[in-house]
Amino acid sequence: MSEHIIIRIRDLKTAYGDHVVHEHLDLDVRKGEIIGIIGPSGCGKSVLLRAITGLKKPAAGSIEVFGKQLETLSERERGEIERRWGVMFQDGALFSNLTVRENVMVPMKEHTNLSEQLSRELADMKILMAGLEPSASAKFPSDLSGGMRKRAALARALALDPELLFLDEPTAGLDPITAAAFDELIRRLQKALGLTVFLVTHDVDTLNATCDRIAVLGDKHVLAVGTIDELRAFDHPWVQEYFGGPRGRAATGH
């Protein structure tokens, strides 16, 4: 089974100064699944993502990605791992002085030997795949709407055909129709490419539409992991409130 676990977190502790964000946090992410991370605001969902991607150094515990512990790796080995994942940040984090196409080409230029022509063609394909118009590739991020920026960010995250995709609040701030299209897009890409997706979200609709499993963060660790139905039966006030509230019920059709 162990080769099917892509991310293995054991006894993780992260802290900013005296403020402890996570303590004794364990989590496994299996190959090929979409796992949703939920939890109240400020419970450290995004910090967890930052810890896994190595942007935030854990205070204790271990994080293994693709069976390797990030801290123990050399610069070069880390680069190898980083090529195998794609990250989409909350507000896109596109480079504002590059066009959308150039943004998507950045990882290709950095990590592969693709020619200018081929990487340009591939970038255009990724942009189309992420559901943008062909005309968007020559535009600058500041000329795009919020939804288009998120799609462009997704195209950049997918540039190197990652095996593991981190999405931080992909549908936040989008209208329900665009958000639903985005959910559909993630699901479709996941199926076509066999991706493993680590999805941080607040959106119950997204959870319901896309996730295979859901992990609930709270009290500095993972409260529960399971399918949406298992979680609905889970006895915890926040989880009950979350799925039992009007939005939760509407989204899951109960």
Partner: protein
């Protein structure tokens, strides 16, 4: 690291069909190896892609296969052989890329150059018009506010005066002091040949009082204060604070532009005065140490031989410089768009325009006063 093997392909013709037999790993890391060979293929007719021996495949590989199939034939590519994801992936890629390529505009060429020249000139005219319009608006707002002084934002005026005036004083004083030294030294060495070193006093006096004191102040302000104003206002613009201000009924002209203009007009003469003074002190020190003109004699000669008009000519330019610097800074700040890049480019434009304007205006003043015979 995952082991990858080199991608390979072979083209076989059997009757009507052409079979593209692919093997090895076709991924974003490997596919470059076969890209140019695949591009060179030409053929028309039915194409079958045989994926039986294909190793790993990702969208990059699928894209290249699909592109090749498209280049060989107009029909939908047929996939033959067993592969876990190839069929699905290639058809996905085929579906999204099946759109009309937008025609790429070619750059370069004479016509393009003419077009850019025309656009550039038009842009320049527009820029000049817009600057004049902004000048008018600023003058109207500022005079309106000056007529109703109780509506002025005194706190921000004083804050700007401190930040742009008081804080700039050391640098202005230092620069002018050193320029004063240099002018005096050049004068001393040149005039020594004529045996009239004592005229160094007049040289330093005329140069510092009339021109250099105020010009240096203007240039320091253009570099220092102007860029900070543009960046401040530009950041507010970028983060929609200015839009928020307008919806709250606050006029950016009243709140941001007028206080800066008023503060700069008031504070620049003070800075110019300090600059002029330190320049003269620089001259005195050189005179004293290198030419044996003692400070008392220097000041006496300065008073008798350099008319006070020269000082007033210098000082008369200071408020104008202050006004121009603040005007350009505010205008460029308000021009900033939504991106970080535009903030950078507008700040650069702002500083360049300000230094340019100060030197041009100084030249105009020189002609004006010369014609007036002062």
């Amino acid at each position: 690291m995952i082991e990858t093997s080199t991608p390979e392909f072979a083209l076989e013709t059997s009757g009507e069909q052409t079979i593209l037999r692919v093997s090895g790993d076709w991924t974003v890391r490997t596919v470059q190896a076969v890209d140019s060979d695949l591009r060179a293929l030409t053929h028309t007719g039915r194409v079958v892609i045989d994926v039986s021996d294909l190793g790993q495949l990702d969208t990059a590989g699928a894209f290249v296969l699909d592109r090749t199939a498209r280049q060989l034939s107009d029909d939908e590519p047929e996939i033959r052989g067993e592969h876990p994801i190839a069929d699905n992936l290639i058809s996905q890629v085929h579906a999204v890329t099946d759109v009309e390529e937008p025609k790429r505009k070619r750059d370069g060429g004479l016509i393009d150059m003419l077009e850019r020249t025309g656009r550039g000139f038009h842009h320049m005219l527009q820029e000049a018009m817009a600057t004049l319009a902004f000048l008018g608006e600023t003058l109207v707002t500022t005079s309106r506010l000056l007529l109703t002084p109780w509506k002025l934002r005194w706190t921000s005026i004083v804050a700007v005066m401190e930040e742009a005036g008081l804080d700039a004083m050391p640098i202005v004083a230092f620069l002018s002091f050193f320029v004063g030294l240099v002018v005096a030294f050049i004068g001393a060495t040149t005039l020594r040949d004529l045996g009239s070193e004592v005229f160094t006093v007049e040289l330093v006096g005329f140069a510092m009082l009339r021109e250099l004191g105020v010009l240096l102040t203007g240039i320091v302000l253009a570099g220092r204060t102007n860029s900070s104003f543009t960046a401040q206002i530009g950041t507010m613009k970028m983060r929609q604070e200015i839009d928020a201000m307008q919806t709250l009924g606050l006029k950016p002209m009243d709140v941001l532009v007028a206080p800066r203009i008023i503060a700069m007009v008031v504070v620049t003469p003070v800075l110019a005065f300090v600059g002029t003074l330190s320049g003269v002190i620089g001259g005195i020190i050189v005179g004293w140490l290198a030419l044996d003109i003692n400070p008392a004699l220097f000041l006496d000669r300065l008073q008798n031989n350099v008319p006070v008009d020269q000082f007033w000519i210098g000082m008369s330019k200071a408020p104008v410089f202050g006004f121009v610097v603040a005007l350009i800074a505010c205008r460029q700040g308000l021009n900033v768009g939504g991106s970080v890049q535009s903030l950078g480019s507008k700040t650069t434009t702002s500083v360049v325009q300000a230094i340019f304007s100060i030197i041009v205006i100084d030249a105009l003043f020189a002609i004006f006063y010369m014609e007036m015979g002062v």
